[in-house]
């Protein structure tokens, strides 16, 4: 069967995400663990939504589903007017590459690649080639995170905060319409956390980026335009 990818191509931003009864259950029968109960949610463009809640409440699960890193057990996700297939499909790869930036708690940088190469990797995956203005885009992203002078460093030569900023630069260099951050300040000291929080706010305000993050950090939660609380897999959100 030939899939016409154009059929699934996203319209250009602004992006809106609509979830309908998405849930995630691990295991089955009496051993089933409901990581996320059926949830319908609409995330409009240009908002900064921060999800709070105790550990195990389903914050990360929801972000993983929104970031298309995992398949929901039930329900569906619609990005703009495009229904995301609930099967392992190349369309999900395409969506991840072109429209979603993910910031991990543990940074996940390639240790043997320089800062420049780590960011270039994301760009090359997105465009499936080396762009002629690749260096400019990387410098632009690094300027946004104030790390222009560390472009040729290896991750191990950077502090934890700097590594997280490189991870943010990697996520934003492709100019995603949705930026997802899973506890981006969890592994950082308070001073560095503050810096990252300010950076996310700046990205939201200046680049009009839709940001969805999960955090326990009160500063990050309070600074978001919208807050949500997840408890036992159910969400209470004020949009």
């Amino acid at each position: 069967m030939i899939i016409n990818l154009c059929t699934y191509s996203l319209k250009s931003s602004p992006m809106s995400i609509v979830t309908q009864n998405i849930s995630k259950t691990y295991g089955s029968g009496s051993l089933a663990v409901h990581a996320l109960r059926p949830l319908s949610l609409t995330i409009p463009n240009n908002i900064f939504l921060c999800l709070a809640g105790p550990s195990g409440s389903g914050k990360s699960t929801l972000l993983q589903l929104l970031g298309l890193l995992d398949l929901p057990s039930t329900g569906s996700i619609r990005i703009n007017d495009t229904m995301v297939p609930n099967t392992d499909s190349p369309i999900r790869d395409q969506l991840r590459a072109q429209h979603i930036g993910f910031i991990f708690q543990r940074f996940h940088l390639m240790e043997r690649l320089r800062v420049y190469e780590n960011i270039a990797l994301s760009l090359r995956i997105t465009h499936n080639k080396t762009l002629h203005n690749e260096t400019e885009l990387i410098q632009e992203a690094l300027e946004a995170v104030q790390l222009s002078d560390k472009i040729n460093r290896y991750p191990k030569e950077l502090s934890g905060g700097e590594q997280q900023r490189v991870a943010i630069a990697r996520a934003i260099c492709k100019k995603p319409t949705l930026l997802i951050a899973d506890e981006p300040t969890a592994n950082l000291d308070s001073q560095t956390s503050l810096h990252i929080i300010k950076l996310l706010h700046k990205l939201h305000q200046k680049q009009k980026m839709t940001i969805v993050c999960a955090s326990h950090d009160p500063l990050l939660i309070q600074g978001a335009t919208h807050q949500g609380t997840l408890l036992d897999g159910s969400l209470e959100v004020d949009l």
Partner: protein, 376 residues
């Protein structure tokens, strides 16, 4: 992008990649050298025999019964021999041997003495003998062994002799059983006077076979030895197959373990949006670079050794001397085949690609978050 990632992987895991590379190198070397040794068994026998053969052609009497020497042209390089079975008797020990009586006047012309190692001297006195190198190690405690002729029809004699020299021909049959002595000494012992049962030729054979004699080449003689080699070849082939299978299993499991440690890397690439096709291309490209490098290196190394051994052989007897009482007289040659080397290279590279293909197939069927495990 693929090269960027390949570089990252090679730099990130030098130990893991070197280990996989060494297994690849070992695998291809085993395939090439093992095949060379197995296929070279026959070559070893033939070349070992023909190299140490005492003539290119041999005239023999039927049933080894001595006959009067036929008229032969003086222009030939030939020597007459009297060959009879005998037994060395020492207390309760009896060792079967072959007495080789030779024409002393023609010995230097006919014997390939330039390829032989002789310690001591060829028999000079009436009761002097020279023994084969391996036989001598069995007689090391006996300065004057007693030799008895086996065939009563030729007359039963037992006589003590002095070992004046030890001859090493690298022909197992000669080294382990032969006793060399002048025709005159043996004739006197057998009372055969001028009768002979073997004539050896170097160069052109006689145009016609004298009555009562059979003509054959040294190569024919060596061919007949191959039949006794069949069992040894079968055992060695089985051993080769078992070792090769173990090496292949080692190669596959090492490559699989190598791949399994890359889950986090693949998870990151997939979360960045890299599709399965690109991941497959990346993994296969990396594996091809690694495999080609080490497999070609291994092929050059083992192919070179194989070629050297196929040309010059290796004398295991000198190595076996170090083992003391265990003595093996064997000149080993390998069989060199470019076709097999190419086949080994392609086969090893192909086998090294199978585990990554399986890994990519398996990791593509699960979501990035599962590849990350708990460490997101």
């Amino acid at each position: 992008m693929i090269l960027l990632l390949a570089r990252n992987n090679i730099k990130q895991n030098p130990f893991r990649n070197t280990l996989t590379g060494l297994v690849l190198l070992l695998c291809v070397s085993l395939a090439i050298l093992g095949h060379g040794l197995v296929m070279g068994i026959d070559t070893s026998i033939l070349r070992g025999y023909t190299k140490s053969a005492t003539g290119d052609f041999i005239l023999e009497t039927k049933d080894s019964k001595p006959l009067a020497l036929p008229t032969l042209s003086q222009s030939f390089q030939w020597t007459d021999r009297l060959v009879v079975k005998a037994t060395i008797i020492e207390d309760d020990i009896q060792i079967p041997v072959v007495l080789v009586g030779y024409n002393t006047k023609r010995r230097e012309k006919i014997f390939s003495t330039q390829d032989w190692l002789t310690s001591g001297s060829w028999p000079q006195q009436e009761h002097d003998i020279a023994t084969g190198y391996q036989l001598h190690s069995m007689l090391s405690n006996q300065e004057k062994p007693t030799i008895a002729i086996e065939d009563p029809a030729l007359g039963l004699y037992a006589q003590s002799y002095t070992i004046s020299g030890v001859v090493r021909t690298n022909n197992p049959a000669l080294d382990s059983r032969s006793i060399w002595l002048p025709n005159e000494t043996l004739s006197k012992l057998l009372n055969t006077q001028t009768l002979r049962n073997q004539i050896l030729f170097k160069g052109e054979p006689p145009t016609s076979t004298p009555n009562g004699w059979l003509l054959s080449s040294a190569y024919d003689k060596a061919e007949s030895m191959l039949s006794i080699n069949k069992v040894r070849k079968r055992v060695l082939t089985s051993l080769y197959i078992i070792i090769l299978a173990m090496a292949i299993i080692g190669l596959i499991s090492t490559t699989l373990v190598n791949m399994d440690e890359r889950n986090k890397e693949l998870a990151l690439l997939r979360s960045l949006g890299m599709n399965k096709h690109s991941i497959t291309t990346m993994i296969i490209t990396e594996q091809l670079i690694l495999s080609t490098l080490f497999v070609v290196m291994g092929a050059f190394l083992s192919g070179g050794i194989n070629y050297y051994l196929s040309e010059n052989g290796i004398d295991l007897s000198s190595q076996s001397q170090a083992l003391g009482s265990i003595s093996v007289s064997l000149l080993l040659y390998t069989h060199f085949s470019i076709k097999w080397i190419l086949l080994s290279i392609m086969g090893t590279i192909f086998l090294s690609i199978l585990p990554p293909l399986f890994f990519v197939w398996r990791s593509s069927s699960i979501q990035p978050i599962e590849l990350f495990g708990k460490q997101i």
